[in-house]
Every structure is written in C-alpha cells, then in structure tokens.
Symmetry: C2
Amino acid sequence: MANRQKPLIFISNDDGVWAPGIKILVDVAKLYGEVIVVAPDRPQSGQGHAVTIKSPIRMNKVDAFEGVESWECTGTPADSVKLAKDTILKGRKVDLILSGINHGSNASINIIYSGTMSAAMEGALEGINSIGFSLDDFSLKADFSAAAYYADIIIRKMLDNKNGEPVLLNVNIPNLRKEDIKGIKICRQARGKWVEEFSESIDPRGVPYYWLTGKFENLEKDATDTDLWALENGYVSVVPSCFDLTRHNIINKLDFLI
Amino acid sequence: MANRQKPLIFISNDDGVWAPGIKILVDVAKLYGEVIVVAPDRPQSGQGHAVTIKSPIRMNKVDAFEGVESWECTGTPADSVKLAKDTILKGRKVDLILSGINHGSNASINIIYSGTMSAAMEGALEGINSIGFSLDDFSLKADFSAAAYYADIIIRKMLDNKNGEPVLLNVNIPNLRKEDIKGIKICRQARGKWVEEFSESIDPRGVPYYWLTGKFENLEKDATDTDLWALENGYVSVVPSCFDLTRHNIINKLDFLI
C-alpha cells in the first residue's frame, strides 16, 4: 500500500441511511478504502428509478458511521448518487459504488422496481464499477452476517480486478446461515412476475381504497442458470446487468410498422 | 367487422389524466376499439418504475373523455396499470396497452426514468402488446398533430399484426410538422446520459438546497441506427424494448468473482 492511494468507495441505498443493511456494507467497505455515504433520509422501497424534478433536494451531514463522511438526502436513491457526484465527490475519481444491503431480494424482475439497483445503475452510467446488494429477507431484524461475508469477497475481488470494462452487478444473498450457503453463481435474470392482488377496504366515509399485495412467480422454474434458481438452491446470485433496454433480436422483425 | 368483437385498448400515462397528450391518444384509439383509461390524477414525470407499497391507492371515475370509461388514480403510472388489471379489467382480454403521449422525449437512457414507459412495461409484463408514445416537446402547449398521425399508423398496424409475440415499443416523435417528418425508423436505444448540474440556492434560514438541472448528451453521435439519430434526422423512432436487464455477453467473463 506504500505508494498506492486508498480506493474511494461511495455507498448509497434505498432503505435510508439509518437502516441496518447499509451499516453492514459501510463496515466491510471501510476495510478496503475511504468511504463516503449519501443515502435517503427515510426508506424509499419501490421507488424504481425515480428522480426528483419538481422540488428541491436537501442534504444534511450526519454522524451515522464512525470515521465515515455521511449525508442524508431528502431525494430518491438515484437523486442521492446524482447529487453526490455533483457536490461532495466533484472532481474525485470514485473506484467503486455500492448500494444496499437491501432488506429484501431484488432478483428477477424486481430489478426494475428497485431503488437499490437504481442507485447502483446511476454509478454504472458514470462508467464506474457498481454493485447492488440485497438480502432475501424483508425483516428489519434480518441476520446480515452471511451477506457481510459475501459482500466482503465480492468487493475485494472487484477492487482487485482493474482490467475489465466497468460492470453493474445485481447481487442477491439467500436468507441462510453462512455455512449453509454453497457459494457464488454468475447467472442471468429469471423471467418472473408479481401476481398482484389489491386488497380493497372501505374508509370511514364509505370510499374504497386499495393496498398493493401479491406473490411473486418464477416463470422459468426449470431453468438452472437464473438468479431465482441460484437463490432457491443456496447460492449467492450475481447478475451482470445493463441499462440498454433494446430488444436487439427483434429489431429486424418490425418492418411491418414502417 | 361483422362477427368480430371490437379490440379492447387500455390507456395510461404519466402526465396525468387531464394532460393534453393522453386526450390525443384516446381520440386515435377510439377509432379502433373500446377504450378504457386509468391514469394518475396529477403529473408524475421522472417517477421511473415506482410503485406504491406503503400507502393505499384510490381511484375516482372521471368524465375526462367523451364516451370512454376513465378513472384517475392516486398512484404512479405503474400502479395505475396494476390496479386496472386487478379491478376494472379483471377477467377481460386486453388487446393493446398504450401510454402517453408524453410531453417530452423518452429516447435513449430516458426510458429508465420514464413513468410513461413504466406503464407500458407493466402491460408487456402481462404478455400484452404495449406502446409508450412521447413527443420531443416538453411544452404543455405542444402541437400533437404529427404525433396523432403517427400514433394512428402504429396503433392500426399493431392491432392488425396478430401473429407475432408480444412486444414493448418505445416510440418517440420529433417536434416537427407532419409534412417535415420523413417516416418511421426501427432503431436501438442510443447510449446517452444526463450531464447534471445541480443549481444550489440558499433558503431564508440560510440552509442550502439543490434543484436538478442538466443537459442530455448523445454518447454515440456517429451511429445512424439509434433512436437519437432518428429523432435528430426527422424520423419517428421505434425501439423494441425489454425488461431483461441481464448483460448476457459478459456472463462468462465474471468467473474471477467465484
């Protein structure tokens, strides 16, 4: 480490700067570099890639993590990364962007609803290696020890791998004890969807209202190369992800529209 | 049309049920089928794929369009489609889902920030042909006549094409007079990004706040097969889009993480 500067690692999340999951990630990242945190000031689950256009955003410096510069932001996860880039990180080279550890899986189609992954994607858009971590347990009392162990491995290997082009990784950790996890699997995003049921209730004025609920369905149960298969079979899933949403293989089949 | 039932066309948007753009789309769609509208009750630009998890959603029947069942919804664009599917449309076969016409382009990376495209994507997740339309003009007084003309062509051709697998289309219309538009181009999503600048101000209590601003940058100016090229050169751009975000071509290059 003599003549080598410490890597700069930026961290955000979507459960808010005070959530247990981000503390785990900060503790791991501190082992490998200088850490700066900008994260929402309150939980932002399901925010997708929302950005705040019509109202101003504020940032407050907070003392959330020992020895780590940290800020809470009134915006979304994507706002937090954009604002950090333009203010606190301005002109500095960031080596790695981390988001999470999310309370709940972001495997399969959940990536499109995920604030955690939107923060990581904002990093990737800047050409920086970016990783979203999620634990397959929604509980605020979730046990993050296995997640911390695997986050450590993946962060270290990503910092050591200096030759590849920048990547965006969607990492999901199964809700198992460390000794019961079989290892890491590189996989693709499974086809899956939410089968929604809205629970209808009637308010005191007699007006109906609806709460989103539902269960998740794996639409390719037999495939063994997907993130859902990996999680269900005791592996940490790693999906290299992108922000090019073009369905390239049907571009030549749409001439009937011209 | 004798023994043939009218197609059922569902419409949403992200500028709200009272925006001029959705009225244009309803007027065109009415020519070809039964139309049902559920759209947000207020503008939701930049909402990305946000869904409402922690509060209830309401729907109110409104008289927004002559002869068309229409509802305003207190949720996001994605909520509007999900809720419609589970309530008003329950058990009915929907032939086509439309979203827009958005006030402002959703070409290139803007698809990930776009409420318009998230509504269309919710339709595609259900295996229904879905199209998001956007006009490259943010003004509320935008001239939608060229957009209406091309929406008509694309809607008609999509309803006639019964054999293909379901597609999700991101359609952007340049801000030109109809007679100056050169036609429709099937293209891919251009690599582009927002170069943000946050405008910092100080509130009356001396506390800083930030407004998101910035300009959009086309990162592949020389490519002629992208949506940005098409728009800049007078074509309506049509990008077949998907919700599989896997970067398939690097799955085999990440073994160093295992």
